[in-house]
Every structure is written in structure tokens, then in C-alpha cells.
């Protein structure tokens, strides 16, 4: 496993959003400070600072290839598996730099869950898909109850309650993605990262996933990467706009879509490019 290069204590206020913008950092769950991510010599994310408010939904939008997915994956150290990837700057979760050598990446991923772009259920039963994470991590409560609650929260319980012990590969794409969300919910992580979770889904399933986030944000902090601006405007509290690896603007979603400060943002959200 490749360890990322860490450059601690490079925190400064450089890429702070503008003054009238809210400062979610006051009770932020997760923040990035001067994060630069490279694949070999290519810079994918360029000096981005951003903080995600607790129990809120933050959307990251931007044209494809702008580095938003790479940026998101840095928050639970999923980029560790790309040998050429390296990271500078700091990512803080509850005040701790998650790239500190003393921090175990497994623990980071336990606290910060992730839902992927394509549904990736394990080739196991539906029940085992949900129970697996808690099981390997020493869960000691009532597993059946946890599975049921998680599937209920992901709004898929009614569809699967009679086939819990059938293979998850028999579900439709939308159901598989909600199963993957249930699997992540079962971990009861504080933060859930979503990497274009609806890009493979039909509009009905997409609506369900968005409703889910709104319901669940009492208990979780969501960060969602999306190329779908309607989704960002419907479902998020804050929106960040990235372009070519740089953070262009970050603000309340309403303001970003109705009265952005930056011309590039306005062009993008009004569909003039991207």
C-alpha cells in the first residue's frame, strides 16, 4: 500500500470563501486545507481549501475531469490504492489530520463512509452485504435489527424483506445502489461521501436517493459529487464549484444558483458550458 506524502502545518487562510459567504468551518465535520493531489506529475486537485458543515449536505459540482471525484476520494483515503497518487496539504476530521502517519486508514474509512458511482454490491446475499462491514469490525449488537434498520433507512426494506438471503446481484440497478447506501448506513459513520451516486440510475431512483439524504442528514454529514446541477440545487445546502482542479466558488446552494459571485460559476450553472 502506498502511503501518501503528507506535508503538515501548511494551513493558511488563502482559499477562504468570500466574506458574506457562510463559514461552515465553525462546526465543520470535515475540512480540507491547501489540498493538492497529483497523479505522477499531473496535478488533479490544485490547492483546494474547503470545509463541510456537520449535518448538512454539500454538493461538489464541476465539468468532468475537474478533479471533483479525486478530491472526494481523498477524504476517506481511497486514493491510497492508486500508486501514482500523492497528496499535499491536510484533511482534518474532528481536528485530526487523517493523513498523519499515526492514523490508520481503516479507521478513517470506518468514520467516513463512501457510496460509489456504479453500484458495487458484493456477490453475496442482500443480508450479508449489509451485515458484512459491522461483522468484520466487531459489531456486538443485534445484527438482524441493524440490517433491517439500515435497509429501512435506505428505503429498500419493503422491496427486499422477502428475499434477504438471495443474491444481491439479482436486484435492479437502482435497488443495488440503495443496497450499497444501506450497507454504508449500517456502519453508522458520521460522514458519508457520495461519488455521483445517481449517474447510473433512472429519475425515479434518483429522486429516492435525494429524499434519503434529506431524511438522513439529522444523523450524517453528506458530501455529494455530482455532474447534475438540478440535483445539486434540489438536494444540497452548500455547493462548491470546481474547475480544472481549482475551487472556483463555494457558498449556500441558493446563492450559488441564483446569484453567484463568480462569472465562471454563473456560466456553468446557467448551462453555458460544461
Amino acid at each position: 500500500m502506498t502511503q501518501m506524502k503528507i506535508q503538515p502545518n501548511k494551513f493558511n487562510q488563502g482559499s477562504e470563501p468570500e466574506k458574506e459567504a457562510p463559514d461552515p468551518r465553525q462546526d465543520s465535520a470535515l475540512s480540507a486545507e491547501h489540498v493538492t493531489i497529483r497523479y505522477g506529475n499531473t496535478v488533479a486537485v490544485d490547492d483546494v481549501g474547503l470545509a463541510f458543515a456537520a449535518n448538512q449536505i454539500t454538493a461538489i459540482i464541476g465539468p468532468s475531469g475537474c478533479g471533483k471525484s479525486t478530491f472526494l476520494r481523498a477524504f476517506n483515503r481511497m486514493n491510497d490504492f492508486i500508486p501514482s497518487a500523492s497528496l499535499e496539504g491536510a484533511i482534518r476530521f474532528q481536528g485530526i489530520d487523517i493523513y498523519d502517519p499515526a492514523v490508520d486508514p481503516v479507521e478513517v474509512r470506518l468514520r467516513i463512509g463512501m457510496v460509489f458511482q456504479k453500484p458495487n454490491p458484493f456477490p453475496k446475499t442482500i443480508y450479508k452485504n449489509v451485515a458484512w462491514g459491522p461483522q468484520i469490525n466487531g459489531f456486538k449488537g443485534d445484527l438482524d435489527e441493524l440490517v433491517e434498520n439500515s435497509l429501512r433507512s435506505a428505503a429498500i426494506w419493503d422491496e427486499v424483506k422477502d428475499r434477504l438471503h438471495k443474491s444481491a446481484l439479482g436486484l435492479s440497478g437502482g435497488q443495488q445502489q440503495r443496497l450499497c447506501i444501506a450497507r454504508t448506513l449500517a456502519m453508522q459513520s458520521e460522514v458519508i461521501l457520495m461519488d455521483e451516486p445517481c449517474s447510473a440510475l433512472d429519475p425515479l431512483s434518483t429522486g429516492r436517493v435525494e429524499d434519503l439524504m434529506l431524511e438522513l442528514k439529522q444523523n450524517h454529514t453528506f458530501v455529494i459529487v455530482t455532474h447534475n446541477m438540478q440535483q445539486a440545487s434540489r438536494a444540497s445546502d452548500y455547493t462548491a464549484f470546481m474547475e480544472a482542479g481549482k475551487l472556483v466558488e463555494f457558498d449556500h446552494t441558493e446563492k450559488m444558483f441564483q446569484n453567484p459571485s463568480n462569472q465562471r460559476t454563473e456560466d456553468y450553472v446557467s448551462g453555458r458550458f460544461g
Partner: protein
């Protein structure tokens, strides 16, 4: 004139087409000829020996009087080689495959893969020599009761021979599992080891099984190494320190000797050959079916 020329070239293409088809058809012809020659030549044998006595008899003594043609000792000997070589090859081969697909850097892969290819490309006769002159003396020094020709030595060397096959097929099977599954497991707080053993390995299991089965078939058909190292004593015992004889080694023994053509003991090699053909064919068909099934899952 143009049209005529075209017609001529059509004729030519038709001829070429026919030749190409014939070459492809040759493979079917080969199979048919194998079956026909095996059946035809073993008919005289089965006039002398009842098929049931052949299949269920427990004494194989075709070259000395009283002659007995119970094939089970040869089958047991073959089985012993298969089991012994599997004990050697499966743990090493699977670990190699896991190392290659999970842990090895691209540079390491570039060294390990050719090494396995070289091991796979060494002629079986060389392995036979190695077993007799290197492995057997070592076994003797460990346990002095080991016979010069013994099943253990042959099993180990056949294990080394089928190891590259298991390693590279298992590597293929593991790499065919989509990376998204590994990421999903790691995102749920699994260590790499847990993701591998609890998610990736089970997902690749049918491919891994197929690789074992194909390797067994190689071990069943392996000839020179067992002829040299395992000896020519048909035996029903499962003692690895003793000499045994496999089906293939019997065919070699008769072919090398001066057994007169037309005798039952000569025709016995065709009966044994047919059994060998049917066993390997059965194993291979099972393996290919399993392989096709698991490819359907992910492609």
C-alpha cells in the same frame, strides 16, 4: 473479360476457402481418429478381459504369468500423484497468484510472470531427471526407508510442473473481479486482507476451482516425470515412500519394452489409453464449463 476474371478469382477463393475449412476440420478429424484408434485397438483386449474385471480388478500384472488386468492399481497410482502434486502446487500457486494480483508492484509482476513462464516451459523430461537425482536423495536423507523410485518424489515434481498453471490461471481469475468490489469492501473499513479473503477470493472462486481442475488433468496425463521418478510397481497402497505405477507410466513401460504386437498385454495400453483419455476429457469439460460460467458473471 472483367466478369470472367472476377469469376476466376471467385473460383480461387472458393478453393482457398475449402482448404481453410479443411484445416479447421482437421481438429475434429483428430478427435475422431483418437477415439477410433483407441476403441479399435482395445477391442481385442476386451475379448480377452471382461470390461468389469478391467475396471474393478485390484491386481495389475500384465507382463508376467499369471496375467491379471485389474486397472485399479494404476488408477490409484495416478490419483496418488494428483493428490500429492495438488498438495504442493495449490498452496504455493494460490499464494503466488494472490501476491501477483494484490500485492506485487508492476515491476515485480514483470519479474515473477516470466519466472513462472520459464518454470512452465521446462520440458517434463528435465523435471523427471531433477526428481530422480535431486529430490529423491533429499527424501532418502530425511527418511531412510524411502525407495529409489517413490510416489512422493514424483508428486513433488509434478506439483512444481503444474504450479505455474495454477498461479497464472488464479491470477487471471482474481484480476477478473471488478476493482469496485475491493473499493467497496475497503470503504466499509476492511483491511486489504479482509477484502481479499472475504470478498474477492469468494468472487473468484469458480475461476480458481477451474484452474485446479485443469491442473489435475495435467497431473493425470503427466508421463515422463512419473515414469522416471515413481517407478513401475502397480500398487493399491497409498504409501508415498513406495514405488507405484501410473496409467501413463504403464504405457511407456510397454512401449519401451519388447512386448510382441497382437498380445493382450500389448493391447492393454490402448485400454489404459482410452481410460486416460476419457478421464482427462471429463475433467477438462467440467473445467471449461465452470470457466465459461464465471466469465458470464462479470462480462
Amino acid at each position: 473479360m472483367n466478369i470472367l476474371a472476377q469469376k476466376k478469382s471467385r473460383w480461387l477463393e472458393g478453393g482457398i476457402h475449402g482448404f481453410l475449412f479443411f484445416c479447421a476440420f482437421l481438429s475434429i478429424l483428430t478427435t475422431v481418429t483418437i477415439v477410433v484408434s483407441l476403441v479399435w485397438e482395445s477391442i481385442p483386449f476386451f475379448f480377452e478381459v471382461a470390461p468389469l474385471d478391467f475396471l474393478l480388478g485390484t491386481t495389475w500384472q500384465p507382463l508376467i504369468v499369471p496375467r491379471e488386468y485389474g486397472v485399479l492399481p494404476l488408477v490409484v497410482g495416478t490419483l496418488q500423484i494428483v493428490v500429492g502434486s495438488a498438495l504442493v502446487a495449490i498452496p504455493i500457486g494460490v499464494c503466488c497468484a494472490i501476491y501477483l494480483s494484490e500485492y506485487a508492484s508492476p515491476r515485480m509482476r514483470k519479474i515473477v510472470k516470466p519466472t513462472l513462464e520459464v518454470l512452465a516451459g521446462i520440458p517434463t523430461i528435465v523435471y523427471g531427471y531433477f526428481a530422480l537425482t535431486a529430490i529423491t536423495p533429499v527424501l532418502k536423507s530425511i527418511y531412510s526407508g524411502t525407495e529409489t523410485y517413490n510416489a512422493a518424489s514424483a508428486s513433488i515434481v509434478v506439483g512444481i510442473m503444474i504450479l505455474p498453471m495454477i498461479a497464472s490461471l488464479c491470477d487471471d481469475a482474481l484480476r477478473a473481479v471488478p476493482g469496485s468490489l475491493r473499493q467497496g469492501a475497503m470503504a466499509l473499513g476492511a483491511t486489504r486482507f479482509e477484502a481479499l479473503t472475504r470478498v474477492i477470493f469468494p468472487a473468484a472462486l469458480s475461476g480458481i476451482t477451474a484452474s485446479f481442475v485443469l491442473a489435475f488433468s495435467r497431473a493425470v496425463g503427466e508421463t515422463m516425470a512419473v515414469s522416471i521418478a515413481a517407478g513401475a510397481t502397480p500398487s493399491m497402497s497409498f504409501l508415498p515412500t513406495e514405488s507405484i505405477q501410473t496409467m501413463t507410466a504403464f504405457i511407456v513401460q510397454v512401449s519401451m519394452g519388447d512386448t510382441p504386437r497382437g498380445t493382450p498385454e500389448y493391447h492393454a495400453i490402448f485400454a489404459v489409453g482410452m481410460l486416460l483419455f476419457l478421464i482427462t476429457l471429463g475433467i477438462n469439460m467440467v473445467a471449461h464449463r465452470v470457466l465459461r460460467k464465471y466469465r458470464e458473471v462479470y462480462e
